[in-house]
């Protein structure tokens, strides 16, 4: 079963479907498990209204008049809006679904679908969104903490992470062992690291984030 507690309570299911009745019926189904639903008739309407800070997931029909589901997904990707997209596909749209998944869609479900299956997938998408937001928040906090270090503290941190003892660090930076000791304590405190292995993990993560940015 899906861990409902992981989905943020404010998370909303955004439904985009040009078929008004289908959109309304999806709302009726999804609201039955007490999830907030917002429906849109076109991809454009959604893009105009949605703000990336809003947690949730997007349920899209691949076949739509005007901007197609695939095109909308492209735009989300360009804007780096990470909201998970759950595609609804019809008969003969398998190729489209494959394209969507390759382009980074979260999941797809084929019409006609089982309601439990659909609701499970929505829960999973919401959980993924919550998870993503949490790691994003963690990453930002980590970067902020690194930024709060002074130049000297950063140097000390990198050498500590490289596994050098205080004495060698002191020699390399032309400081006294006592000063290195102080810097090292400040680094651990500012980074909120409980142990050296903690600090190593943070430093690696930070390096990874910087290289992907």
């Amino acid at each position: 079963m899906i861990d409902k507690a992981r989905a943020s309570p404010a998370a909303t299911v955004f439904v985009v479907d040009d078929d008004e009745v289908v959109a309304r019926s999806l709302r009726w189904l999804i609201e039955s498990i007490r999830l907030p639903v917002v429906t849109f008739a076109t991809a454009r309407d959604f893009l105009e209204t949605y703000r990336p800070e809003q947690p949730g997931c997007l349920v899209l029909d691949v076949r739509m008049l005007g901007m197609s589901g695939i095109e909308l997904q492209e735009i989300l990707k360009q804007r780096q809006w990470g909201i998970p997209v759950l595609f609804i596909t019809g008969h003969g749209d398998v190729q489209m679904a494959v394209r969507a998944i390759k382009a980074g869609a979260f999941d797809f479900i084929e019409k006609p679908f089982n309601d439990q299956d659909m609701l499970d997938r929505i829960q999973r998408a919401l959980a993924k969104d919550a998870e993503r937001r949490r790691t994003d928040a963690e990453c930002i906090a980590l970067l902020r903490r690194v930024e709060s270090l002074t130049q000297r503290e950063r140097e000390v941190m990198h050498l500590v992470v490289d596994g050098l003892p205080n004495k060698l660090i002191a020699d390399q930076l032309g400081l006294s062992a006592k000063t290195v000791e102080v810097h090292r304590a400040r680094v651990m405190e500012k980074m909120g690291a409980h142990s050296i292995s903690d600090l190593v993990k943070m430093a690696l993560k930070e390096e990874q984030l910087r290289s992907t940015q």
């Binding site: 008004e20 009745v21 289908v22 019926s25 189904l29 999804i30 019809g90 003969g92 309601d115």
Partner: protein, 411 residues
């Protein structure tokens, strides 16, 4: 032809040479002259030989049994022979593919009967290669006009033949793909049209079950959701009806019918919708129309479709004046012309250009098959369906159908 002529002349010259020799023997006085003539003839033969040897296409002589009497270097290359000894005296049929031997024999026979022929055949060369050859052949006659050999000029047409085959295969494949994709597209379109109402019904029903289980489904909600389910079931039924109409087109039963009668019956069939949406309908029917040869049910369906479209266009646009006019008159070409006009919003040029396309619809629940089917119905009867419209000026569908061939019209 030049070759035959050349060989003819050569034969003639040879005869002349013998005559000349005989004369020389008798008349020594003219010996020198004849020697000169002989040299000239020899030179002439050499020149002819050189030309044939240098000829880029295969030149050969066959006897009546198909044995090779003579062949030039180009001919040797054509069958992958190294030297004349490989083929001289051999039967040409040794290289002809089995399925073409009979025809080849027939052509040789015809040439020996005095005809000129041209034909193509498949060969298996001495080198084991497969090729297509094309031969032009004619009889070679001696000085007395007796046919002494089959003379042919042959070229390799393998590349040309392959290109032809490929073009043919390509054409067949294209036709198949076009058929398949039309069917596939239609199946996908139908599936989508059916899936929409079915998905909605399932969502409404399952959502209701969950609400019932949680004990929070009000009486009003129940009423409204059941209404939605019913409407969507009807919508699915409508899609199926469209498909049935479409399928019916395949079993048409044309007979002599009067257009005015069909219009009257189409109006009767759509009367309910016309009245329900406050539309008035005016008929301006010419009563000296010739009969047409058509399936009355199909034409009626097409007319109903045009009327329904007009009603829907005016209703959707909220037109205050809702009027349909159906007019008939004889067309210039001796057929009939029908016009179905409405006082609706009309269409932009862009929309007008697409209305006859399959799966194009301006209606939210439209399948986009109606006008495309209507057009193919009219075209089945050798007629034409077109649209005259402009934004704000209503839409006017016109079609023409030729008169039935028989002059006798049904009552």
């Amino acid at each position: 032809m030049i070759v035959i002529w050349f060989w003819g002349v050569l034969g003639l010259l040879l005869v002349l040479l013998f005559v000349a020799l005989a004369v020389v023997r008798k008349r020594d006085t003219r010996h020198a002259e004849f020697l000169a003539l002989l040299a000239k003839l020899k030179e002439s033969e050499n020149r002819l030989r050189a030309i044939i040897e240098a000829e880029p296409e295969c030149v050969k002589l066959l006897d009546a049994e198909g044995r090779i009497i003579e062949i030039n270097p180009a001919g040797l290359a054509l069958v992958d022979a190294c030297c004349p000894e490989d083929v001289l005296g051999q039967s040409i049929y040794d290289t002809v593919a089995p399925e073409h031997i009979e025809n080849y024999k027939e052509q040789v026979h015809r040439v020996f009967s005095g005809e000129s022929v041209a034909f193509e055949y498949r060969v298996l060369t001495l080198g084991g290669r497969e090729a297509w050859h094309q031969s032009h052949a004619c009889p070679l006659r001696d000085a007395n006009g007796k046919i002494i050999a089959y003379l042919s000029v042959t070229r390799d047409v393998t590349v040309h033949k392959q290109a032809e085959d490929q073009a043919q295969r390509h054409q067949t494949e294209l036709a198949r793909v076009a058929r398949m994709s039309a069917i596939g597209e239609m199946a996908t379109g139908i599936a989508h049209e059916l899936n929409q109402p079915l998905a909605a019904i399932a969502n409404f029903a399952k959502g209701s079950v969950r609400r019932l289980q949680a004990g929070n489904l009000t009486h009003e909600e129940t009423h409204s959701v059941l209404h939605d389910i019913g409407t969507q079931a009807e919508r699915a039924g409508e899609v199926l009806r469209h498909i049935r109409d479409f399928a019916r087109k395949r079993n048409s039963l044309p007979r002599l019918v009067h257009m005015n009668a069909l219009i009257a019956s189409a109006v009767r069939l759509t009367e309910h919708e016309i009245r329900q949406h406050g539309v008035t309908i005016a008929l301006d029917l010419n009563d000296s129309l010739p009969a047409i040869n058509a399936d009355p049910i199909m034409v009626e369906q097409m007319l109903c479709n045009l009327i329904r479209n007009a009603v829907e266009a005016m209703t959707q646009a909220g037109s205050t004046q809702r009027r349909i006019v159906i007019r008939t008159h004889p067309s210039d070409a001796g057929g009939i012309e029908v016009e179905v006009s409405d006082s609706g919003p009309g269409m932009s040029e862009e929309v007008a250009q697409q209305v006859f396309d399959q799966f194009f619809s301006t209606k939210p629940e439209g399948m986009g098959m109606g006008l495309s089917i209507s057009r193919s119905i009219i075209e089945t009867y050798g007629g034409r369906l077109w649209l005259e419209t402009a934004p704000g000026c209503g839409a006017s569908f016109h079609f023409r159908i030729p008169a039935a061939q028989s002059l006798k019209a049904v009552a």
